[in-house]
Amino acid sequence: MLKEQTFDAPIPGMSMTHELGARPWQSPPKYATVDDAIEYYLDRMSSEEFLDQLTDVMEMGVPITSIANTMQLGNVMEGVHSVDVGMLVLPVLVEMMMLVGDSAGIEYDSGLSKEAPMNKKRTRNTLVAKTARKLQMQLNEQEGKEDEPMVDEPIEMEEDVPEEKPKGLMGRRQ
């Protein structure tokens, strides 16, 4: 059987094309311990924006293990934590994402089973909800514009104000 060839590997000597320490992963990481890294991830993952995006991606059928691996690899490249801390953090990330998926009540692919269960076509509820929300906002905006009564600016009529006569001693007398 022929072995599958991969061409996405770095070429020999590629790591030496830059000055030592010029890359983020060559300098000390921002979070050196597992606890610090876990705290960093949990903080990031608890934001509403992130959760919305995560549930959407999970519902698309992207395996959780792939998302977790991409996240930790990206942070290693940015110098947030080291490779070994990333490896240790992986199970926590996977478990956290599974918890998010379960609490959101969506069907997801954990990536732990051999066969991919997400092959069947189905509607993405998060996408439907997002679209409905957007449409509702647009409708509200349009209704708000239409409901606004055409208010004519009142024209101020100039009234004849009698001029005050100077009363002082030095006032001019006509």
Binding site: V34, I38, P63, T65, A68, Q72, L88, V92, L99, D102
Partner: protein, 71 residues
């Protein structure tokens, strides 16, 4: 075909029962010559192990997930 993903291996190999183990109660010895550090206390050093702390985090999250599933 899926490529190599360390997340799958890391998650599969995390045996919570083996890493965390069962908590043992420490019996107090009153004598002066009683050993202060028993073999049972050896488990206290576990907390310094990052894998033990990760396993604890995973256990908490897994318990919470099971709660949601059961409800």
């Amino acid at each position: 075909m899926r490529g190599f993903n360390p997340a799958i291996i890391a998650h599969m190999n995390l045996d919570l029962d083996k890493i965390i183990g069962t908590e043992k109660t420490i019996s107090k010895n009153a004598g002066l010559l009683a050993p202060k550090k028993t073999m049972m206390n050896k488990g206290q050093d576990k907390i310094d192990n990052p894998l033990y702390r990760v396993a604890n985090h995973v256990k908490i999250l897994r318990d919470k997930r099971n709660e949601i599933k059961d409800a």
